[in-house]
């Protein structure tokens, strides 16, 4: 494609998966205890989407990648220090809540508005990328709602592979039930892709890319609009971690033979 793509990646930040998450009640509903103190990372699926976007852009001259991210400004800055070293992009930050209990509809409205306000965005070349779910809310609806607001009728979820065909059309592999992929052919932009894992490894840190990115990211963060998504009468009755704690029997002194017999008996028990 001679003019390349305009790829907009929607990606939020989530608590580092290794952290213990404890819900608390606030006046605005449930939240995480010490949420602002928890180390954050770019949502894993959004990360895959960003790396796939950068890879696609590198193979289509004239392409540009934007990362639209809603989150607390201080957290966004922390995460960008790492992500900015991976691939080139322009950050469109929005300062606001990005926790798992925030309503996906309200988040989608804020993100769609931010995308519509991107200067120079050519909708005829638009590829909207994001994670098919997130590690926080895991709603699996935000991207579709943004797509509807932007009038995108070709949408794919659980995408693991996107191949540009010689005629400019796309071949898309989406995850479906039973560990299989549905293969779709789409005529071309504008298209929405909710990424699963993709096929690319995480890019290595490149300080030169990082410095180039951060020159634009820091001013963008300073200019970030503050927003408070409207909760739209979504009310939580409870939010609690699972209470089940198993009484683990630790078996140390059995031979491999004895363990195997015990396991097989367990497997064969109805």
């Amino acid at each position: 494609m001679s003019n390349g793509y305009h790829i907009v990646v929607c990606g939020s930040i989530v608590p580092d998966p290794l952290q213990t998450l404890e819900p608390i009640e606030t006046f605005a509903g449930p939240a995480l205890k010490n949420e602002m103190l928890l180390p954050a990372v770019l949502d894993p699926w959004a990360g895959h989407a960003l790396y796939e976007a950068a890879n696609l852009a590198s193979h289509a001259p004239g392409s540009k990648v934007w990362l639209v991210s809603l989150g607390a400004k201080a957290k966004l800055q922390q995460v960008m220090m790492t992500i900015a070293q991976k691939v080139s992009f322009e950050l469109i930050p929005i300062d606001g809540p990005a926790g798992g209990f925030t309503d996906a509809h309200a988040t989608a409205a804020v993100l769609a508005e931010a995308i519509q306000s991107i200067a120079g965005l050519d909708r005829s070349r638009l590829l909207l990328f994001g994670g098919w779910e997130s590690a926080s809310r895991g709603a699996g609806v935000t991207m579709q709602l943004i797509g509807e607001r932007l009038g995108i009728l070709d949408q794919f979820q659980g995408v693991d592979q996107l191949t540009v065909q010689p005629d400019g059309s796309f071949e898309i592999l989406e995850r479906i039930e039973g560990g299989r992929h549905q293969v779709s052919l789409c005529q071309g932009a504008s298209v929405l892709f909710g990424w699963a894992t993709g096929n690319l490894p995480e890019p290595r840190n490149n300080p030169q890319i990082g410095m180039a990115n951060m020159r634009a990211i820091m001013p963008a963060l300073q200019r970030a609009k503050t927003t408070a998504p409207v909760a739209d009468a979504m009310r939580y009755r409870s939010a609690s971690p699972p209470k089940q704690q198993r009484q683990t029997r630790i078996v140390k002194n059995l031979s491999a033979d004895e363990i195997a017999q015990e396991i097989v008996a367990w497997i064969e028990k109805a």
């Binding site: 894993p44 693991d160 052919l185 979504m234 195997a260």
Partner: protein
């Protein structure tokens, strides 16, 4: 007050029946309609819906509607969305229940936008609490369970499979109201070219299996002889899967190795990944091997009832209340013996 419930379902990929998750969602819808004294309608999407409709003849539905035709056979966002939109506008429901299949997870969120309603997915139960309709789902990838309600209607809820007893009733002769939906050209820019699946003898993901077998990164690490033995690990694991019929899962550290040029198990892909950034399968039993059982992985075991693990470290995560039994042993030795026993007639 919820007075009008619509159950949406699509035909399965063979085109003549409904997927298992749809029968479960129907079971939930019937139960809820009775509790709320609400009217239940069923809307079908697919090519030829007659056989499926007849199987629903005794499902206690007030109306049975369908958007049918060859252009609605393929799972495609634009056509599924228009079909579901046509059914909803014909029924004007307060509440829409649907199975959380990949097809509906793709299309129905957009429907909520078009109907000016709201949508929630991965619902594990729907119940009436103090007269209010409430839904339950997990947040932060199975780490926090939330119960919530919404005021906006219609409210579209996609129910996860395995959370409700399926409806089971005799077939009959159904009267189907066909809803005409025209597909504009812009809704047909996408075509489905088929389904890509591993060969049947190498398909390791089996959602209906009685057991989940999880392999961790330890299978590719150096063994007591100072060398790694990925070929032996592959043989042991595949032999076990063949003999037991188990479904294969992997830890993130193991499936990521293929992108990092380390020793890998050839059959293990990201589709197998279980955990915070992978799948959360539902099986009655689970056996973990060479995996430390840290929290980001174990959240993927939320819906595994009986759990056992084999690990060399007696202080691994499984020992801290996450498994019923932890065998402190070498998985290479144990699984070789297990396979021998399973092969015996």
């Amino acid at each position: 007050m919820t007075k009008n419930i619509l159950l949406l379902a699509h035909l399965d990929e063979f085109g003549d029946g409904l997927p298992k998750a749809a029968w479960e969602a129907l079971g939930a819808a019937i139960e809820l309609a009775k509790e709320l004294n609400a009217s239940l309608s069923i809307g079908l999407i697919g090519g030829d819906v007659k056989a499926a409709a007849d199987s629903l003849a005794n499902a206690e539905a007030h109306r049975l509607l369908a958007v049918a035709g060859p252009e609605f056979v393929q799972p495609r966002y634009a056509s599924d969305l228009l079909a579901a939109d046509g059914l909803c506008r014909a029924v004007s429901p307060d509440l829409v229940l649907a199975p959380a299949t990949s097809r509906f997870l793709r299309a129905l969120p957009g429907l909520a936008h078009r109907l000016k309603g709201r949508v929630d997915t991965h619902i594990t139960s729907v119940q009436v609490i103090d007269g209010a309709l409430c839904a339950t789902r997990w947040f932060y990838r199975q780490r926090i369970e939330g119960v919530f309600q919404r005021d906006t209607r219609p409210w579209i809820l996609l129910l996860d499979s395995g959370c409700h007893e399926p409806f089971c009733g005799p077939a009959g002769k159904a009267n189907v109201e066909e809803i005409a939906v025209a597909l504009p050209a812009e809704a047909q820019r996408t075509t489905i070219a088929g389904i890509r699946a591993p060969k049947s003898d190498s398909q390791t993901i089996r959602p209906d299996a009685a057991m989940l077998f999880v392999a961790g990164a330890g299978w590719t690490k150096k063994q007591p002889d100072g060398k790694s033995h990925p070929e032996q690990a592959e043989t042991l694991i595949l032999d076990f899967l063949r003999a037991s019929g188990a479904s294969l899962g992997g830890s993130k550290s193991l499936v990521d190795q293929s992108g990092e040029n380390q020793a890998v198990l050839g059959f293990m892909t990201h589709l197998n990944q279980v955990g915070q950034t992978g799948a959360t399968p539902r099986h009655p039993k689970g056996l973990s091997t060479c995996c430390h059982g840290e929290e980001p992985h174990v959240v993927g075991w939320r819906f595994i009832n009986e759990r056992r693990a084999i690990n060399l470290d007696p202080n691994c995560g499984w020992a801290r209340g996450k498994a019923d039994v932890l065998y402190v042993a070498d998985a290479f030795q144990v699984m070789a013996k297990v396979n021998e026993l399973l092969k015996k007639p």
